[in-house]
């Protein structure tokens, strides 16, 4: 009897597995651990002084109250708008569904700071749109959006698509027999909606609400553009102001503040969990999606109403933004003779920081997308096909940096990289590398989720056939597994790219001269009063975003359903 042959394949497995665990721990566990440490042991010395000092400050509580007010108000608008639209789109025979979904979901893919900028241009005294219509208030009038109500309105518009998407996913899996049974029982449409559809949609509605709340509470772009000029401070902008005013000396204080945001966000998530868990909402049968309600003579009015919504949430602000980008200087009325492309040439060719920002944002987003794709494919492999229990636990951690508001992660990144790296002795603080780290940590889950759904669609026998052919794990990953999950993984990488490309929250806290991102540039142009330049940069980012989204639609046959939010 021969000895059992040695197993080189397993060594490869273990090495890859260990490497993945280390990567996940570095990206997910370390930032949160570092933050906790700073809050309760500033500088490594256990002390609750910073903790109590921060919580005892009146500013903290004003910002907390403001954060809650705007988040709750914004969530309410998002839920009402998102769910009404979802019900109509999913349950009726409206026409032009695909085009409408694209238009309605688009604001989600546009950066919040761009949304804010665009709306400011639409309703402000310098609004080219209002000027064209002769409705502009006199120069010097305060922009009505510089207010709590303005923030709430824009948060609602920004996150209505989130509610729409979660709810529509649920409506799609609603078996039509359930509705048909109610009709057979003689129920009217309104009655079916109230007694069958809405109760079964509760989990989706609750999840969408929680998502909108968590996103609103962590949003930085909208309160930064609307709240800072109006002296209406929320927690993320308070952190930003403290840090940019006083520098790293207030780190323990902002660590406590960011934990406060984290706690509020977690409370939202936990509340959702509790609400859904109380009842059993599981739908047992699967069949063709329900689409029974014919609108009849209401069809045209309903369609007109929906397109009016699309006009207001998308076309109006984008038109305002575009017109502003053509205005030669603040307040100058726009007409055929004054319209100019100078703002574009300025930001693309002349302004050094803006030029750098384009390069930085492109390379940061692309690097983050590629690295995350390279990590997600093997990570998804171990999560889905190997069902490694250790990684499954780590998977929960991967979700955290994205579930928690971006400022939380940004502060954690500062804490980690403020001091030079051990052994190497180089400091990443103040370079683009700290931003890349934060992107990787925060957006890993965006790339991982599509990869995971890709694995669920591929028959594992395809891998086993390669194993039988003698291919080791790395070779299999390269020649068989990667090509099979590539469409899903690419979609994930695109989501990462788009999100990072439009991002401001993280880089607003981490940038320094030389490592500006597009979000930062738009923000600083606007703060300096150069709305026209800000608008030009914003228009360009929207165009890039739109172009990439349309490209993916062309490839969408090979991407698993549900991965791309803008696809019906």
């Amino acid at each position: 009897m021969n000895l059992v042959a040695n197993t080189s394949g397993r060594r490869q497995d273990r090495a890859l597995f260990a490497a993945l665990c280390v990567v996940v721990a570095l990206l997910s566990l370390m930032p949160l651990a570092r933050l906790l440490l700073e809050a309760f042991a500033p500088g490594g010395v256990p002390s609750l002084k910073a903790f109590f000092a921060t919580l005892g400050s009146a500013n903290t509580w004003t910002a907390t109250r403001n954060s809650l007010e705007t988040a709750i108000g914004g969530t309410a608008i998002a839920v009402i708008l998102g769910s009404v639209v979802a019900l109509v789109v999913a349950l009726t025979d409206m026409r032009g569904r695909n085009a409408f979904v694209l238009c309605f979901v688009l604001p989600l893919m546009i950066a919040p700071q761009v949304t804010a900028l665009a709306w400011l241009q639409v309703v402000g005294p310098a609004s080219p749109l209002l000027k064209l219509l002769g409705l502009a208030p006199p120069i010097g009038t305060r922009n009505p959006l510089y207010s709590r109500e303005g923030i709430i309105l824009l948060l609602g518009i920004q996150y209505a698509p989130l509610v729409f998407l979660t709810l529509r996913a649920g409506l799609r899996s609603l078996p039509r027999e359930l509705i048909e049974a109610a009709r057979a029982a003689g129920a009217s449409r309104a009655f079916i909606l109230r007694t069958v559809i809405l109760p079964l949609m509760t989990p989706g509605l609750v999840a969408g609400t929680a998502l909108a709340f968590v996103s609103s509470i962590g949003n930085f772009g909208i309160p930064a553009f609307l709240g800072i000029p109006g002296r209406y401070v929320v927690l993320p902008t308070l952190i930003y102001q403290r840090l940019s005013g006083l520098g790293p000396s207030v780190l323990s204080e902002v660590a406590v503040l960011s934990m406060l945001i984290g706690v509020i966000a977690m409370a939202g998530i936990i509340l959702q969990d509790v609400m859904v868990r109380r009842r059993d909402f599981r739908i047992t049968t699967t069949s063709i999606a329900a689409r029974p309600f014919t609108l009849g003579r209401w069809r045209l009015p309903v369609e007109a109403g929906l397109w009016a919504v699309a006009l207001i949430v998308l076309v109006l602000p984008m038109a305002g933004l575009f017109l502003t980008s053509l205005v030669p200087a603040y307040g100058v009325p726009l007409n055929a003779t004054t319209a100019t492309l100078n703002n574009y040439t300025f930001v693309l060719l002349e302004h050094a920081a803006a030029k750098r920002a384009f390069a930085n944002s492109f390379s940061l987003s692309a690097s983050a997308a590629v690295v995350i794709m390279l990590v997600s494919v093997p990570l998804g492999y171990f999560l889905v096909w190997r069902r490694s229990p250790l990684l499954r636990a780590l998977n929960v951690l991967v979700e955290l940096p994205y579930a928690l508001p971006g400022v939380v992660l940004a502060i954690a990144a500062i804490l980690i990289f403020l001091k030079p790296l051990p052994i190497l002795g180089v400091s990443l603080y103040g370079t683009v590398w700290i931003i890349l780290f934060a992107y990787l940590a925060r957006f890993l889950v965006l790339g991982l989720r599509p990869a995971i759904s890709g694995y669920h669609q591929v028959d594992r026998a395809l891998e086993e056939a390669a194993q039988v052919a003698g291919a080791g794990l790395v070779y299999r990953l390269r020649t068989v597994i990667f090509p099979l999950v590539a469409p899903a993984a690419t979609a994930g990488a695109l989501l990462v790219f788009l999100t990072a490309f439009n991002e401001l929250t993280v880089s607003a806290l981490l940038w320094s001269s030389g490592s500006e991102t597009l979000g930062v540039i738009v923000f600083s142009f606007e703060q300096g009063g150069d709305s026209n330049y800000a608008a030009a940069v914003a228009v360009l980012t929207v165009l890039v975003t739109l172009a990439l989204m349309l490209t993916t639609l062309a490839l969408s046959k090979r991407i698993p359903p549900g991965v791309l939010p803008w696809r019906d």
């Binding site: 009897m1 021969n2 000895l3 059992v4 042959a5 197993t7 080189s8 394949g9 397993r10 028959d459 026998a461 395809l462 086993e464 056939a465 390669a466 194993q467 039988v468 052919a469 003698g470 291919a471 080791g472 070779y475 020649t479 068989v480 090509p483 099979l484």
Partner: protein
């Protein structure tokens, strides 16, 4: 090519025993079918042989090498087994030639040599010239043959097939059955063929391993399995055998015996080492039974069902005795027998088989 030896292999999933002390060996070049109802552990056994899963106890040897034992496990990549998966598992992003040549690419075989061997393998399954196609553009039978060529090209020591015909329609099945037989003759490979279809197993295999509930019930040639089932479960599973209670079994040497069935004496076949026993089980099939004339010697029965089967009728009749079992037999057309009739059914002399019951071999 190599022999396969499986010794008392056990596999658990949590508290569920998917395989329970299974032993099986295949000689070099032998074609073994593993037969059993769905869920009995066939795929589990195959996955252990391939090395996708690890054994809880017992050993598996390929050739002289221990590949699986609780002490260690040789990775699938190093086992040199070929597998034909139930759904073929052809890589959709590769051409037919790339699919077939994959294992050669893994082994670093030079391109020219690789192309030659791929084309050779494709010729062997009658797919010469199909190398540039994509799997998606092939019919079910062609995909099956590509899967065969793929496992053949690497000259594996052992070929495993998991219900390879289950996804094909009836016509294709018959054709592919011939294909597998020819494939086995040409390559002389040791083959383990998993199926739940008796006819398929009987047609193809040198020996059949019958499994149920994670246990191996019998490993024997098809005719032995049919004529001399080792236990009541195999007897009833193979060829719709009827298992009836015997008393007073008296071997007469030379594999023949006399015994009583519901008090009636009959002659039957038995194992050579069968001992006299007070009780035992009889295995008969429809073809072993016949209608005796009204005065003939046999079991008094009442007909409960008559089904026309084209040229003959399948009768079902209940033995008129305490807890009498249901018998089925075929009678040729035309017949006047109808439901409710009283009939006498006899076992043809020397056709029944005394199942060697556990402990039944010793007179007790």
């Amino acid at each position: 090519m190599a022999r396969l030896t499986i010794e008392t292999v056990t596999k658990d999933f949590g508290s569920f025993k998917a395989l329970d002390r299974v032993s099986l060996d295949a000689a070099d070049g032998e074609f073994i079918a593993v037969l059993g109802p769905s869920g009995c552990g066939k795929t589990t056994l195959l996955r252990l042989i391939a090395g996708f899963d690890e054994v809880a106890s017992g050993t598996i040897r390929i050739g002289e090498t221990v590949v699986s034992s609780p002490a260690g496990h040789v990775a699938t990549e190093l086992r040199r087994v070929g597998i034909v998966f139930q759904n073929y598992a052809l890589w959709p992003h590769m051409t037919v030639a790339e699919n077939v040549g994959y294992s050669l690419r893994v082994a670093g075989v030079a391109t020219a040599e690789r192309n030659r061997r791929v084309e050779e393998a494709l010729m062997l399954v009658d797919l010469g010239g199909f190398g540039d196609r994509r799997p998606a553009n092939l019919s079910g039978g062609q995909r099956q043959r590509v899967a065969l060529a793929r496992c053949l090209v690497a000259a594996p020591s052992l070929v495993l097939l998991d219900e390879p015909l289950a996804n094909l329609d009836v016509h294709l099945r018959a054709a592919m059955e011939d294909e597998f037989a020819a494939f086995h003759r040409r390559t002389g490979n040791t083959m383990i063929y998993i199926t739940h279809d008796q006819a398929e197993a009987m047609a193809l295999a040198d020996r059949i391993a019958v499994m149920d509930h994670g246990r191996l019930l019998q490993l024997a040639t098809p005719s032995e399995l049919f004529r001399e089932p080792a236990n009541a479960m195999v007897a009833s599973f193979i060829g719709h055998g009827m298992v009836l209670p015997l008393t007073d079994i008296l071997p007469e040497g030379d594999g023949r015996a006399r015994a009583r069935l519901f008090g009636r004496e009959l002659t039957l076949r038995c194992a050579r080492d069968q001992r006299a026993a007070r009780q035992g089980d009889l295995c008969v099939r429809a073809g072993d039974l016949t209608l005796a004339g009204a005065d003939g010697d046999g079991l008094a029965c009442r007909v409960t069902r008559v089904v026309y089967r084209g040229g003959l009728f399948r009768l079902e009749a209940v033995v008129e005795a305490e807890g009498g079992p249901t018998l089925s037999l075929d009678v040729p057309e035309p017949t006047s027998v109808a439901v409710g009739d009283a009939v006498t059914i006899a076992v043809k002399p020397g056709r029944g088989w005394a199942i060697p019951t556990a402990g039944g071999r010793d007179a007790s």
